[in-house]
């Protein structure tokens, strides 16, 4: 089976889907001639023409809002927001318009669109690019939010996102775009929205993560194993829908849970998970659910981002401390 990077998987899936379904259209800033600042859409305009792969004026609000209109007209737009950090300029269209149009029209208008946005840090971007504000969007009823951690899932989740008639925010890890490489089947397949996966089996505790944090969790698990702690790693893959049953089963099996993300602590999606785990697994828990996150500060300039994003050593340290909590 061929091994691909995440960005390759995304690019090839877009090409396959555009070839398969002429309703699929790609719009965004710099997605055409340049092929996207991360080259996720490279070659698509040459292949499908400038009417299906469109370089848009620099305005996130109208990119998303026009995408909504394209979806209503019968097309299946894939909208690229260059960095989720600039999603603020489109937040009203995403959270207030796209997410609830179906509700506001009593089912008359569904919004089958995918909004792709790279997010998260660790690649020394300029200021304001790296925010991991997935929790904002998971809080918007009507919107689905997915965050693949592997090239395999990037393809399967993108296909699932294109298949559903609901709008999907599809988050791509800046750090994982090229670093993450794994096996991607050639044929079309779907990773169902709302299905988590156990990436690493382990008996002592469960680390729940998504996107780039999954690799971090796996690396920490190696270090922990060397010290005799057997960590299970659960990749959420999808924030909305949330695989509550999968999370409960994973945490109940180990009795301890760590939620790992690089967004700030307060109101982060880790809070949602901690509450869910507490409710679902209360009698199996041997220690409080622990969150490892960024601090409640803005994403810093590149010079100190390593102090901001959770590190491998920090995960190891905090997991060890959690293991010492007596039941």
């Amino acid at each position: 089976m061929p091994v691909k990077t995440m960005v390759e998987a995304i690019r090839e899936t877009l090409a396959d889907e555009m070839a398969r379904d002429e309703r699929v259209m790609v719009i965004g800033e710099d997605v055409g001639t340049l092929g996207g600042v991360f080259r996720a859409t490279e070659g698509l305009q040459a292949k499908f023409g400038e009417h299906r792969v469109v370089d848009m004026p620099l305005a996130e609000g109208v990119i998303v809002g026009a995408g909504l209109g394209l979806a209503l007209s019968g097309l299946r737009p894939v909208v690229e927001i260059q960095f989720l950090g600039f999603g603020h300029q489109a937040f009203h269209q995403i959270g207030q318009q796209v997410a609830r149009l179906r509700y506001r029209s009593a089912g008359r208008h569904s919004v089958p669109m995918v909004i792709r946005a790279p997010f998260g840090g660790g690649v020394r971007t300029p200021e304001l690019h790296s925010d991991a504000f997935e929790a904002f969007y998971a809080h918007c009823p009507g919107l689905k939010v997915v965050a693949p951690a592997s090239a395999h899932d990037a393809k399967g989740l993108l296909n699932a996102a294109l298949d559903t008639d609901d709008p999907v925010l599809y988050l791509e890890p800046l750090k994982g775009y090229r670093l993450q490489r794994d096996e991607v089947p050639e044929e079309r397949y779907v990773v169902p929205l709302g299905s988590s996966r156990v990436v690493r089996e382990g008996a002592d505790l469960t680390i729940v993560a998504w996107s780039a944090a999954v690799q971090l969790a796996l690396q920490a698990a190696e270090d922990l194993a060397a010290g005799g702690i057997d960590a299970q790693v659960l990749d959420l893959r999808s924030l909305v829908p949330l695989d509550v049953a999968g999370i409960a089963a994973a945490v109940s099996a180990t009795g301890r849970a760590v939620v790992l993300h690089e967004a700030p602590l307060t109101g982060g999606f880790g809070a949602e998970l901690a509450a869910t785990i507490q409710q679902e697994c209360f009698y199996d828990l041997l220690a409080p659910v622990h969150r490892i996150s960024a601090p409640d500060t803005p994403y810093p300039l590149a010079g100190i981002e390593e102090a901001y994003v959770p590190s491998r050593a920090r995960v190891v340290r905090e997991v060890r401390a959690l293991m010492e909590v007596a039941p």
Partner: protein, 356 residues
């Protein structure tokens, strides 16, 4: 040639019908078409009056009257073909969405707070009423652009107010429409007020229509209380869009004769002098007078139209008032096309909670 644009001269809006109902130029509207438009205008006025009275009695929710803007809205809508064209409304365009096929009882239910008011029949090409100002404009451009991409006939008309034109979505949308040449008409109703903020505090531009030039699209400035002029401008804008010649920004200069909505008190900010400037500009009176001059309307005909309007308003409000109150299950309807386990569990729990 100077390097700076000089102050611009005042400009007059296009007018075909003077305030006494006399023709100042030619019209392509037949008497039958004007009569039909007049009936939509009168229906709206009748609804406004009835709904305001019910609102005062506590039997109807807060709503925004169209009073004073009937020629503007109907004149715009009369250029559209409901079978293929789309409307992306704001919230003060009742006759336009009615003419496009929205049942009056749904509109009433919406403003009575009933979820069934959100129902848009499957064959009716409108977006929901928009409360978040200007948010419908990017969507209108997208629909128009998408129709053209697919080789489908259809022009999208989106309504926006003078206040909403200060929003970023307004500027981003006109810009994108210009770039894509989407078949969209931006119909800006300058009714003098954004709640209490007067037009003069909204923009320093000479007219809102002037802004079209900055986006490289066509602009038109029309007397919004003149049905014939609004129709003429819109017919041209729609034809141009349909022919692939791109978008138009129409500024319809009108007057909000009433309050912003039933919760508003314009006596706090609209002066007698403000009103005096618009004395005698009631668009219904102007059209009625015109139709009486052409002989298309006499007392008997007027009475018939009036009776039909009253009957329709009574019927719709009757249906709305007889609609059973919504149950809690409606909270969960139409949120997702494909709901999932956690959502369905919440729905079940909510219903159980209501029954307890």
């Amino acid at each position: 040639m100077t390097r700076f644009t000089p102050p611009s001269e005042p400009v007059e809006p296009l007018r075909i019908l003077d305030s006494s109902g006399a023709l100042l130029g030619e019209t392509a509207m037949s008497d039958a078409a004007v009569l039909e438009a007049f009936e939509w205008m009168l229906l709206t006025r009748t609804f406004d009056q009835k709904a305001t009275s019910l609102q005062r009695q506590g039997r109807f929710g807060t709503f925004s009257s169209v009073r004073g803007q009937e020629a503007s809205v109907v004149g715009a809508a009369s250029a559209l073909d409901p079978a293929r064209d789309w409307i992306a409304p704001q919230y003060r365009e009742l006759p336009a969405i009615l003419r496009h096929g929205m049942p009056l009882e749904n509109f009433a239910l919406y403003f009575m707070g009933h979820p069934r008011g959100c129902v848009i029949p499957d064959d009716v090409n409108i977006l929901p009423i928009q409360i978040s100002l200007a948010a419908q404009l990017p969507q209108a451009v997208g629909v128009a652009w998408g129709l053209r991409q697919q080789g489908r006939d259809g022009v999208v008309t989106t309504f926006v107010g003078d206040g909403a034109s200060s929003e970023g979505d307004f500027h981003e949308s006109l810009n994108l429409a210009g770039v894509t040449k989407a078949p969209v008409v931006f119909f800006l109703q300058n009714n003098g007020w954004a709640i209490s903020t007067p037009r003069a505090k909204q923009t320093a531009a000479r007219t809102f229509a002037d802004r079209a030039a900055g986006y490289g699209i066509h602009g038109a400035y029309v007397d919004g209380n003149d049905l014939l002029a609004v129709n003429a401008v819109m017919v041209e804008a729609v034809a141009r869009a349909r022919a692939g010649e791109g978008p138009t920004l129409v500024e319809s200069l009108t007057w909000r004769a009433g309050a912003h909505n039933t919760a508003d008190d314009p006596t706090k900010y609209v002066t007698d002098a403000d009103h005096a400037a618009w004395e005698g500009t009631d668009p219904l009176a102007r059209v009625e007078s015109y139709l009486r001059r052409t002989g298309a309307l006499a007392d008997a005909g007027y009475a018939e139209i009036q009776a039909r309007c009253v009957a329709e308003v009574d019927r719709a409000l009757g249906v709305a008032q007889a609609t059973p109150a919504p149950g809690a299950e409606a909270l969960f309807d139409h949120v997702y096309a494909e709901p999932f386990a956690r959502f369905e569990q919440q729905r079940a729990a909510w219903l159980q909670m209501q029954e307890a």
